[in-house]
Every structure is written in structure tokens, then in C-alpha cells.
Symmetry: C2
Subunit: 347 residues, 2 copies
């Protein structure tokens, strides 16, 4: 795929923080759809706290009588009960907190390259299951609605919740659809033989490695028939774990999925994006699985940043039935674009 | 509750192994229902391998063209790649195997105390998601069917799958209803305000402690609206983790649930059974939660065995609308009975 020369298209510096005391650390992992004559990205805006000498501060939402209130917790840095796991998490007295708290915000573009980011959030945490933030939206149009699933993070771990909207103004909450610990949910854009399908990624602990699963639903809200679809391959790109990327796109050859694979290089995470093709009539059947990445961390903006050597996608748009625009994030920090012809990916 | 004087009612010695080379290690964690004039228990029969000097042997099912075949893997005990976690699991080259493999078998009784155990399994692993066995059945009658959920164990971790039967002869597989890692699923026996409900227990990792969740379904097969219901209480019975026990029973005061709580005593697991009462009209609302166990390990058969100090329930039967028969397991090994009046439990 050809990486855009203007990459990164969206950076944290372009984002107005959602509250005082907050610093934008990331504008990342957007879902992507066409809406009218625009391409809409729904960004995850990750915000941390302004630094205080000798303290570790984490933002948390509290819910009192259904009303959300942002609270900042301060831990003393040299408290033996405080453990800094990496840049993303803090453990205090055995409980895990995230160092940044995310909301979802829209960015709009006519040409798919130059984006205007909204000044205000599109969606903020709305209940206790989202007290540590909402992350990594994926969008798919089904009928008159855009269905948007996202990761809901709380002290009870991370699950995947669903909203829908017709107009990107009013939203309807449809509940947590994949319970903790589960993320990287990619909903197929239409029913297949009478059933909706989604890819999902449960955290299966020491029993195996984190793999891509598939499930079925009559209504997008209730899910069953869970099956493991593909496991990490024993190669240099995805030996550690894998997870769904962009919601699948229908092609003549099958359902096209771009997923992420993680491996460890010198003890550090290294993420690439891989190709998967699933049977049009039965998406539990794998037709093709690439053994080389379509995108891997190479450019400076992909190898140096908040979390180095991460490329990650949550959305792609197909134009004219052949031009693929893949929006992806670099270093868990910025939003980038890569393009190619469909025929370049599908063998 | 009053523990039966004949406890344990069912022991591994009473069970005919399902295959040569296998030794019955446990007859435990039964679901319980009334069927005709009998009480049926659906036992988990845990079988290990005969010991071979210097080897660690684990049983695994392999599936070739949909046909199940039992295979026994042998690891050399002093292989540095072999780690014995406890009596229940072996890790080889980073992969976890269970030391026993379970199937489900029926036991029948006219008086609820003296049981005849079938000579053959009722249900054995039937697909790859069950290659390490099927465990911990829970049964509930809805309409003309008995719905039976159980834990499906594989190299991809443990999830909860569902079958149904009218006659305890023919069964129909309805798929995995709660994906990995999830167990302790208790289905409510009727729709409540138009929706089925179930308790479930995802493993939420270091994000919080394993808690009891609740979900909704239109059809018992597809589940959504996942919410955390109760978390471990900071007391001497359930500070470490909790999980659903018997499927809830409807009472005048609310839905009666007996769940299990685990705590650590001198670094060792200690399981007790606790009482929970949920609102009849909205089971996401807790009416009452006991702070003392109704059963805890006290008798020798509860404190000495395969896994000491474990009491665990998967099923109870209510007779004459007031007599509760709670079937529970001791030490992950045997099946026991405790009885009381409903009014003794519900305040």
C-alpha cells in the first residue's frame, strides 16, 4: 500500500482538549465511513493529566445518579503500592488504571486527506462500564443507521459496546455486546444467510494466544455461536497475538479484512497489518490469509512516538469499487492514510 | 443448611471410566432438575490418565472430519519445558493443558439421596472448542425443553456452550453462548419483561477481580446487554473472586441465587457458598446479599481431597415450594447434598 506523503494526517497537537487539566496524548484508531459527500473519521482522543512533580495522575469518570463527572486520581510516585506498567497503565494496590482516558471525536474531510477535527467530543463515557474511557470506534452502515462499536474500559476490564446513529448528531445506546475481556470487534455490513456476523477478540489468557473469533447475531445487539476463526501464525509478524482491524468490506472474491498482528522484537511490541479473505456465503471459512504485512512500521512517524512500532487500523473506505483508503494509526498517537487498488490486495 | 449424613453421596469410586487407560478423579459439580418422578443430576466426570513412571500424561480430544478421538499426550516430567501448576493443570512450552478431561454423565434418584449413576456418558466433547473436555453443567427447564449449559474447554481457553433436550436422550447443540474466558453461567428459568436473563462470570484479568455479570437474550442462544452485577466483597469469604452457582429459583421475595465465593487462607483457595436475592421484575437489582456462607468447608470430606476446602454448587431443586435440596461438590471430587427450608435462606 502507498502511504500518504502528508502522514501523519492528524496529530494530538491539532486537538482541543475536552477539559481543563487535560493534555491530548493521542488522536488515533479512527473508524471510517462515507457520509454524504464527506469521509468521516471517528477518532479516539486520548487525554492524560498535566504532570505534577512526584505524582502519578490518572483521569477517571465517576457516575453519580447517571451523571458523569471527570475525576483525577493522584498517586505518590514512590509509593511502593504504585507500579508503572508501561506508558499506558498504572497499577495501584493491585488495581489497574489507564494513564490516559479516551473519548470519541469526529473529523471530517471532502478529499479523504485534509481533515477538520470537531472542537467537542462526539461521545463521552456514559455509564460505569466506561469509567476509564471509550476507545477504538469501528463504524459500519446497515440500512438507515451507522452502527458504531467501541471499547468500553472500566475497573472491570474492557468490553465492546454499541451505539447507532442516523445523522451523527443523535445516538442510541444498545448496550455492551461483547463482555469483558473483549475488543477489536468488526461487524460485517450486511446479513449473510439470515444472520449478522462479527469478528471479535477475547483475551484468552494463558490458554492459547489472543486470537480472532467470529460470532453471529439476529439483531446486532445479542451475539452467540462463538467460534475461534484464526490464531496467531508462527511467523515474524503475528506470532504473539492478532485482532480484527477494519470492518470487513465485500469484494467479488470474498470478505476483505485487514487485521493487526503483534510480535515481539528485542522484547518490544511490533505491530503490522495483515490481509484475510473470508468466504462470502460462510465467513467462518478462510479463503486466503497473507503471510506478509500490507503495512508495517517503517517511517519515523511509525517507529518513534507514544508507543513505538505500532500500526493499527479500525476503518477503511472503498471508492469506485476499487480504490481502498485505509486509515491507520502510528505509535498509538497519530492518524495516517495508506491507499491501494483492491486488486493489489486480493489475489 | 443441613448437610446430609450420607455425604458424600457420589464418589469417583462409584463411576465406571469412559475408556481404557483412564482413571476417574472426580464425580462433581452436577446440574440438578426434577424429571418425571426422579431427580436427575448431570455430573461432571473428570478422568485422568494412569500414571507412567517419569511422565506427565494428559488426555486430549482430537477432531478429524468431525469425529472425536481421545488422545493421551505424554510429557517427560523433568523436561524444563514442563511446569506443573497445581493438581489441575500442566504447562508445556507455554501452552496450558488440563490434567483431567471431563464429560457429562447422568445420575438418577427417586429420593434425592440415593443415586444410580449411568454406565455411559450422556455428553462427550463434540467439537474443537471442547477438546480439553466439557465441565460443570447447569440445567433449567423452559417450556418443553431442558436447557443445559456447560463449560467448553480447549487450547483457546474456556467458554460456555448450550444444548437442549426434551427427554435426556436426544440433544441439540446451540453453540457457544458466552465466549472465552467465561464460565459459571446460570440461566433464569423464564422470561422477565420479555427477555431471558443469565448470570455469567468473565475472567477480567488484572482489571478488577472476577465478578458476577448479567446478560439478556431474546432466544437463549444470542446474548447482549452485559453488565457487572456484583463484585467480590471485602470479607473473609469472597474477597478473591465470585461466580454463579445454581440457576436462580423464583421465590415470593425475589430470584434466589446461591453463588460461590473464593478467598485465600494461608495462601490456599477456600470456597464457600453465599446467598443472593435479585428483584423479580428487574434481576439487575440486588435485593439482598448475605454476609455469611450457607455452606463452607468443615467436614473431613470437604477439607481433604483432590482440591481441599472447596464447596461448589451448580444446581438446586425446590420441592413443595419450600424444601430446598442443594447439590454441591466437595474438594472438586465428590457430590454432596444440603437441605433447608426456603424461609431459612430468604430473610
Amino acid at each position: 500500500m502507498l502511504k500518504n506523503q502528508k502522514n501523519p494526517l492528524i496529530t494530538p497537537e491539532m486537538i482541543i482538549p475536552s477539559g481543563s487539566g487535560l493534555v491530548v496524548k493521542g488522536a488515533l484508531n479512527p473508524g471510517a465511513v462515507e457520509f454524504g459527500d464527506e469521509i468521516l473519521l471517528l477518532l479516539r482522543i486520548a487525554e492524560g493529566c498535566r504532570k505534577t512533580e512526584g505524582k502519578v495522575s490518572v483521569p477517571v469518570y465517576r457516575f453519580k445518579n447517571g451523571v458523569a463527572e471527570l475525576e483525577i486520581l493522584h498517586f505518590t510516585r514512590d509509593d511502593p503500592e504504585v507500579t508503572l506498567k508501561d506508558t499506558r497503565a498504572v497499577v495501584y494496590k493491585g488495581n489497574e488504571y489507564v494513564s490516559t482516558l479516551s473519548h470519541l471525536r469526529l473529523a471530517r474531510s471532502k478529499d479523504g486527506v485534509n481533515f477538520e477535527v470537531d472542537e467537542k467530543p462526539f461521545l463521552t463515557p456514559q455509564n460505569e462500564s466506561e469509567e476509564f474511557g471509550i476507545e477504538d470506534a469501528r463504524m459500519v452502515k446497515i440500512g438507515a443507521y451507522y452502527y458504531i462499536n467501541y471499547t468500553a474500559v472500566s475497573k472491570d476490564s474492557y468490553g465492546t459496546s454499541l451505539i447507532r446513529t442516523r445523522d451523527f448528531v443523535d445516538t442510541e445506546y444498545l448496550g455492551m455486546i461483547f463482555c469483558v475481556p473483549n475488543k477489536d470487534v468488526c461487524i460485517f455490513p450486511e446479513k449473510i444467510n439470515g444472520s449478522y456476523y462479527a469478528l471479535h477478540r477475547p483475551h484468552n489468557l494463558s490458554f492459547g494466544k489472543s486470537s480472532i473469533w467470529i460470532a453471529q447475531s439476529p439483531d446486532l445487539v445479542h451475539w452467540g455461536h462463538h467460534r475461534c476463526l484464526i490464531r496467531p501464525a508462527n511467523n515474524e509478524w503475528e506470532s504473539d497475538k492478532i485482532g480484527g482491524g477494519a470492518p470487513p468490506i465485500k469484494t467479488d472474491k470474498g470478505w476483505l479484512e485487514i487485521y493487526h498482528g503483534k510480535t515481539l522484537r528485542n522484547g518490544k511490541d511490533f505491530y503490522s497489518l495483515m490481509v484475510l479473505l473470508l468466504d462470502l456465503e460462510d465467513p467462518t471459512k478462510v479463503i486466503f490469509r497473507g503471510d506478509q504485512p500490507v503495512i508495517m512500521p517503517e517511517e519515523a512517524y511509525e517507529t518513534e512516538g507514544f508507543v513505538p512500532n505500532v500500526v493499527f487500523t479500525n476503518g477503511m473506505v472503498m471508492k469506485n469499487n476499487e480504490d481502498l483508503l485505509l486509515y491507520y494509526s502510528a505509535c498509538d498517537e497519530t492518524t495516517c492514510l495508506a491507499e491501494c487498488k483492491l486488486s493489489d490486495l486480493v489475489p
